[in-house]
């Protein structure tokens, strides 16, 4: 049994090493995903291009503008349209905010009368628009306080735990690790088995005394190992390149990943029993991956999803693994904090892996 499994594993590794496409998929995919997703999906709202229309042109209004742009948040766009034509500027993506200071700004301010300052925002990205308006309000309040010496009854002191600079890459990289391991193991396992069916070697194996457990072990262990390799590459890259902190226990992360792999390898096995061609297997595996990623909370929080979709996410094993990876890496979470997710993952793993296994035994005869 052991000899057979080892022979299968060795064979599988030879095949991977000799297949350029496969090698590319395995080693370039994590790099590209990390670079693209790590940089492009930047949910931080900073450096907002802002058009400024100062109709007051007083020293006070200039000071107000300076206060606005003091932080890293607002950047004055130099080429404002001559007329108040913000819509066009938004459409052309030249800026996403416009600040309008009325001509009686300093006059009213000095008399301590209420004064309206306008802020036009590009609402097409609702999320960043609301964050921008929050910044603007905060800066206006600070300006009031400083200029007018208003006593402050309540002072809110905020501090973020776990990700003090609110770097979205710290949040994305653990997510990418989870996504990668899901895709690689499900896709490779299903395709490797279907390829053998296509070229006829599976039939050749079926006339040997090989047992179903040995066949399944020999066909899944190599991809589990590749999954771990993939994960390690992504983690190293994340830590060394993006400088993300790793708060928790590496052992725990790898241990729980081992449990998670039963689900993705199980899905891969299942797909191999319903696909006739490698293309079909690839398609099913992508479909599964996309569903799993979209309902995992990778891009947007599950709490923001429609209620029906929220219920659906409980059926997604990646949902639990996502919480685990982020929890361990960002918050240093331990088993007591994660046990509901761990239990869910174990249950999923057992159900998916054994049911695919049983389907397999049937097809052999």
């Amino acid at each position: 049994m052991l000899q057979t499994i080892l022979a299968l594993m060795k064979k599988e590794f030879y095949q991977v090493i000799r297949d350029r496409n496969m090698l590319g998929l395995i080693f370039l995919m994590p790099m590209i995903q990390l670079l693209v997703l790590g940089y492009a999906i930047n949910t931080d709202v900073k450096k907002i291009q802002t058009a400024v229309y100062d109709f007051d042109r007083s020293s006070l209004s200039r000071e107000y503008i300076k206060a606005k742009t003091a932080g890293d948040y607002f950047i004055i766009s130099s080429d404002n349209p001559p007329v108040l034509d913000a819509e066009r500027g938004f459409k052309e993506n030249r800026y996403s905010a416009a600040l309008i200071i009325p001509n009686d700004f300093s006059e009213k301010f000095i008399e301590k009368k209420p004064v309206d300052v306008g802020l036009l925002l590009d609402g097409s990205n609702a999320n960043s628009a609301s964050i921008t308006s929050g910044y603007a309000e905060m800066i206006a309040m600070q300006f009031n306080r400083r200029q007018l010496d208003i006593p402050e009854p309540i002072v809110m002191r905020q501090q973020m735990l776990f990700n003090p600079e609110s770097e979205s890459v710290y949040f994305m990289v653990p997510g990418i690790v989870a996504v990668l391991i899901t895709m690689i193991t499900a896709i490779l396992t299903s395709m490797a088995i279907v390829r053998e069916r296509e070229i006829g070697t599976l039939e050749q194996l079926m006339v040997t005394p090989i047992t179903v457990p040995a066949l399944i072990a020999g066909k899944t262990i190599p991809f589990a190992i590749l999954g771990f390799l993939e994960m390690s590459i992504a983690l190293l890259f994340g830590v060394l390149w993006f400088g993300i902190p790793f708060a928790g226990s590496w052992t725990l992360l790898y241990g729980l990943t081992f449990i998670y792999l039963f689900t993705t390898l199980g899905v891969g096995l299942f797909i191999s029993t319903i696909s006739k061609t490698q293309q079909q297997a690839m398609f099913y595996a992508w479909f599964f991956s996309i569903f799993a990623i979209l309902t995992s909370g990778f891009f947007s929080p599950i709490a923001n999803m429609p209620e029906m979709v929220q219920h659906l996410t409980y059926l997604n094993p990646l949902r639990y693994y996502m919480i685990i990876v982020r929890g361990i890496m960002m918050k240093g979470a331990s088993v007591d904090a994660l046990y509901p997710e761990i239990i869910a993952m174990v249950i999923f793993g057992i159900i998916i892996f054994t049911s695919s296994w049983l389907r397999y035994s049937k097809r052999v005869s």
Binding site: Q3, A7, K11, Y14, Q15, T201, E203, T208, P209, I210
Partner: protein, 248 residues
Amino acid sequence: MPDAVTIEKLTKKFGDFTAVDQISLTVGEGEVFGFLGANGAGKTTAIRMLCGLLLPTSGNGTVGGFDIYRDNEKIKKSIGYMSQKFSLYGDLTAYENLWFYGSVYQLKKKVIKDRINQLSEELGLKEFLHRQAEKLPLGWRQRLALAASVLHRPKILFLDEPTGGVDPIFRRRFWEMLYELADKGTTLFVTTHYMDEAEYCHRISIMHHGRIIELGNPSDLIQKYQQPNLEELFVQLISNRSREAADV
């Protein structure tokens, strides 16, 4: 002489279509049995049932004394199967392929090594051992496939068109190797479309539309139908049958 293969009214239907229709035959131990028939006659389907790859629709059969329904796993230990389609790993070398199958049959490392040496010597595969299987010329690929199917020394060897597409010199040499195996006591169950090869067989059966229409020793059959050779016999039998079918 105990029987290596017995088949009784073995039938396989794919939906409404009957690919193998109640065939019965026995093959003795150590016999070289030619399983002939035109394209689509049902030869491969019958062999797949005997090897445990396909469940029969009805009928009975034993291979090496084991029942094809119940003792599937025992059968697998005692047979070798060389399929019609080349089905080794093209991206592995000849050596790696042989090593892989040796390990799957759980032979000891030393045994695998010795047998690879011996077989590659006998089959003239030595210089090709470290080439990728898909890059071998067709004839050598067939020899490699033969080597892989006999590495574990099966008692019964099923060969489904082992010489398809191979040149006459290679075919002659291939059959010499088969005869060497038969001399050592291996039962051979061979399909072929080459009638010169069929003449090497102890007995042959001729299949047509899923049924066995003739069975016997090649020279007896030639005499019975008074034909100059097997080729003529085969053509006559098949075309007669087709004409009868058309008349009905």
